[in-house]
């Protein structure tokens, strides 16, 4: 077991676990960084018919290599459609055609509300983060939201410094009412994949640990989360990455190990 777990990195496990959650999904809005490699891995494994949508204005991308960033000529060549960003955000995203929006975060709270704007005070932040990009509208309009990020007490916090992208707000009841009243098409966050495990959201709209990655411990999970951890009564262990999954990441998607080391 230890040998085998030594055979893959925590990042690789995280990416593989995120990719597997996409099984059965049809249209996925791809974010920058980790989501980019996780979705491209899913497309090559559990979800070959997955339609990749890039906010840059591409539907049905067939990237011949792992895109270098959120925009890359390889996502256009051979795609079904390359459209203006107005059309992408208005008709595809706000129009309700996106099944899964994949987001990263600098800070997330127990209800899946996300901060990617600032750490500290908005006017004089200690750290100025990238900001919303498309995250704010993805969180509101995609049918469901997957989050992929590493755990730490700095990122899994009791209270986020700035709400860039709404999750389950103050809890499920409140969130469902507001989403219904405002005519939002999305139901918010459903999955959070970290370097330690896989979380889903319980009836109260709060994050619940459903699966621990091989080698990860409950204690490690608790030590890197800023609120009392909810653990599923039937906590599972995440199946290890397969050789096929590892080879795809290492040989094809990320030979440089930019994301997987």
């Amino acid at each position: 077991m230890s040998d085998e777990t030594a055979a893959f990195s925590k990042s690789e496990m995280m990416i593989v676990a995120a990719a597997r959650e996409l099984a059965g999904q049809r249209v996925c809005f791809v974010g920058v960084g980790l989501p980019n490699i996780a979705v491209n891995l899913a497309k090559r494994t559990v979800a070959p018919d997955l339609e990749l949508v890039y906010e840059a204005g591409v539907f049905g991308a067939r990237p011949a290599r792992l895109p270098l960033s959120i925009g890359d000529p390889t996502i256009v060549t051979g795609a079904t459609a390359a459209v203006s960003m107005f059309e992408l955000f208005a008709f595809y995203l706000q129009g309700g055609l996106i099944d899964v929006g994949f987001l990263g975060a600098a800070q997330i709270d127990r209800f899946g509300n996300i901060n990617t704007t600032v750490i500290g005070d908005y006017a004089h932040p200690t750290t100025r983060l990238p900001g919303s990009g498309g995250a704010c509208e993805i969180a509101i309009n995609a049918r469901q939201i997957f989050v992929i990020m590493r755990q730490s007490k700095r990122s899994f916090v009791e209270k986020i410094d700035f709400r860039t992208s709404p999750g389950n707000l103050g809890g499920a009841a409140n969130a469902e009412r507001i989403r219904r009243e405002q005519g939002w098409l999305g139901r918010g966050p459903t999955v959070v994949v970290t370097d330690l495990g896989i979380y889903h959201f319980d009836d109260s709209g709060e994050m619940r640990l459903d699966s621990l990655h091989p080698g990860a411990t409950l204690q490690a999970a608790r030590d890197t989360i800023g609120w009392p951890l909810h653990v599923s009564p039937d906590l599972a262990e995440t199946p290890e990455p397969t050789t096929a999954e590892l080879d795809l990441m290492r040989l094809e998607l990320d030979p440089g190990g930019l994301f997987t080391r």
Binding site: A56, L68, G71, P73, M85, F89, Q94, P130, S132, E137
Partner: protein
Amino acid sequence: MSTSKVATMHDAIAAIVRDGDTVAIEGFTHLISFSAGHEIIRQGRRDLVLARMTPDVIYDQMIAAGVARKLIFSWLGNPGVGGLNAIRRVTEGDHASLELEEYSHFGMVARYTAGAANLPFFPLRSYFETDLPVANPLIRPIESPYGDGTVYAVPPLKPDVTIVHAQRADANGDTQAWGLLGCQKEAAFAAERVIVVVEELVDEAVIRADPNRTIIPGLIVDAVVVEPWGAHPSYVQGAYDRDNRFYLDWDPISRDKAATDSWLAEWVHGLGGRAEYIEKLGSGRLAGLKPSAPAPSGSVDYGEYR
């Protein structure tokens, strides 16, 4: 209609970009006119309000050079690499000296769209239950006149100058681009003045052979600058790839103010223009950025109707 608008980058920037202007160099990861940004630095423009969805390395360089007083944006980063360190130096902590006006991507696209369409606002479903309308009071709620709830509105953005890079244009400024189109069309129609920078100047007949490919008509274009490789280190679909090494190298350079200044001295102030920049980069560096093979669109038939 047949009068040529072709100009050098020096003359176009000198005539069209003024101190204090709101300037939008648009192009979402694709077709970013680094060449125009460098010329604006070279000519020492000041107090510009820079608008751009993704400020990218070009605005990090321009802000490091001191051309701007304010930034209007939606995503502040070095795509695929990390942060924009020169901008962070003037936006973090008590040194925060650069004014920021912040939206989401759709908010920025909607602002240009309202500007292009002469609308007083544009409605969208973003922002509800977020802190963005608190951070930016220009993002305002608006009631549907059909009694079905509230959405948010953003105000029109009408740049004094919009600068876009494209694959080709004719001498009148009729411009065609393919690949990622971002919000260049909206940003150009919203602007008071427009500069188009192209890889290739083509005959009017090339444009008129495929009218559906035209994104910007010469009607709204003030200058056409012909500069192959003018978008380096960003990319041009079908012409060259993103020079990722440049984006990676910029990270350590931009973390150090002195290194940033000497980069600007060497690569911007020390050069006369894009031709010298390309020569300095070297043909080997450029050769490695060419597509691995052509991928032709194929031709369609519009038919003659007499």
